[in-house]
Symmetry: C2
Subunit: 317 residues, 2 copies
């Protein structure tokens, strides 16, 4: 087994020197890893260094790990050279299936069999990317959020041929590296977060098209309205709170979908009792042993801090 313990990872290879690949590199450097960045375009080195340099002040503000240095990155155009000594590979190449499959075949040939390879892909499924690989069991999805050096979330899931040990290893490694690994139960196009964003974005496109709102009004409604709340609580916990004493059960029964179907171009699915129970059970697990009052206090304390910081950044306070 050439797969190190997640805590013992030292050498990380990032495939692709663009916004996502170099953003990953910046984050790994800040955690004290040695990083190799590979891109077939030799000009990518300059761009990569600019991205790392522009990320560094934020990473310093968040706190660098011991020994972390921007000098510990090496650039190469040679894929085999890039991955030969890697303890872990984060692939952020072009979003084209044929290119991805070629890259994975080349990596397979140049690396020990057990080392985990994660793909940053937004729009492709690992089951398709790994389909032609000789050694697909160590290939996982590891989808970050922009900017990857700051946002904690990484969505992790295997393809049909992925071994569960590789998925678990990737989750453990990302946590060691300071990320929030969200282990998904199954593959789905767009993963989780991008699907939600796409539904909202498509409603935005319809609204602007129909002159129901301008792009400026859309953005104002987000940053002064529901945006700050979503930095603290997701909709399942927020609507559990909105349901008052009855929580999510009350919320889903009270808000009859026929009422809200005219609010958006995406009509609600039928709200069955089973579905209400699924949401209620999830909301109760999210609530844990915190009372509704405690949750409200936590929400408000976080909001106050966010709003004060927002006012400072925008020069309003």
């Amino acid at each position: 087994m050439n797969r190190p313990d997640p805590k013992d990872v030292r050498n990380i290879t990032c495939i692709g020197g663009g916004v996502i690949g170099a953003g990953w590199a910046a984050g790994f450097l800040a955690k004290g890893y040695d990083v190799v960045v590979q891109d077939i375009n030799p000009d990518a080195e300059g761009q990569m260094r600019r991205i790392i340099d522009s990320a560094w002040p934020s990473l310093e503000a968040m706190g660098l790990s011991e020994g972390a240095s921007r000098d510990r990155v090496r650039f190469t155009t040679d894929l085999a050279d890039a991955v030969g000594d890697a303890d872990f590979v984060q692939e952020s190449g072009p979003e084209r299936m044929d290119i991805k499959q070629d890259i994975y075949a080349a990596m397979d040939a140049a690396m020990p069999n057990d080392v985990v390879i994660a793909s940053s892909t937004s729009g492709l499924l690992m089951s398709d990317i790994q389909a032609k690989s000789k050694n697909p069991s160590r290939m996982v999805l590891g989808h970050p959020f922009n900017p990857p050096y700051l946002m904690p979330l990484v969505e992790v899931v295997g393809g049909k041929k992925t071994d569960t040990s590789a998925v678990d290893w990737a989750c453990d490694f990302y946590r060691v590296a300071g990320k929030h690994a969200l282990k998904m139960d199954r593959e789905v196009l767009g993963h989780i977060a991008d699907r939600l964003q796409q539904a909202m974005w498509n409603e935005i496109v319809y609204m602007v098209d129909a002159d129901e709102a301008t792009p400026e009004q859309i953005d104002e409604s987000i940053i002064y309205g529901f945006g700050p709340r979503l930095a603290i609580m997701g909709y399942c916990l927020l609507f559990h709170l909105a349901g008052g004493e009855g929580g999510m059960r009350h919320f889903m029964k009270h808000f009859d979908p026929s009422v809200s179907d005219d609010w958006t171009r995406l009509p609600s699915p039928p709200i069955t009792d089973d579905l209400i129970e699924k949401f209620a059970a999830g909301a109760e697990r999210l609530q844990g042993d915190r009372s509704v009052e405690e949750l409200q206090i936590q929400r408000d304390e976080a909001l106050v801090g966010f709003l004060q910081h927002f006012n400072k950044v925008t020069g309003k306070g």
Copy 2:
């Protein structure tokens, strides 16, 4: 004209003593206004005082106006008594058209003709609420976000019979009272922000129903992923940045809707050249004279502050 200058408003009446009505009252008290809260249920007084008390520490942290005091609220069950001396009325009664129309008729009979009445309604249109009123020209929508004592956004729009002077007055008043007034160009069910949230929520309901994600995974994908970004920038500016040098024009052309149609149950509308121009022009107005690099620095500085605060609140840092 009995409508005072927005700066001279002293007496505010909040109709409804629930979470939204009492939340409004708390926010107005913190700004130093005298507030009357009316609710036909005498038991609502206790609930109202609990809501104000629980909001007060957050309002103190945000900074109270001179003379602001929780003692400056009076409760009554009598609607005519509540509105007789009001400089402005914020109505947050039940979301039922028949009840709303009765309340508006009763207010009309008990108030000077010019004083502005704003409704907090989420699900009804002002054109319908005001349909049977004798004096509908001063009635506007003024839709807040929960918790109304903290969230800045108020969506403002008139109904068919509303005078534009009332809409402008309401926007001016909300700004004096420390809110962010978003003046809409036309009425639409769900207004702006709730339509966007509903599209996302309905996609969430489908995903949980299909076992593509659990409620916990949904919420994790929000608070560790795209949520914190939405506290800083809306999608129009975020995607303008995501488009790189080409901005929104590149973003909308590059992300062919056929690629993303499988990402959500709400397919994209056709992306015409006219629509791309509408978005691009809006995004450029949002960008103003800030360079892409300046915007990225502002985004990252705000994110760093939010993440540090989030870690503190959740005990992670």
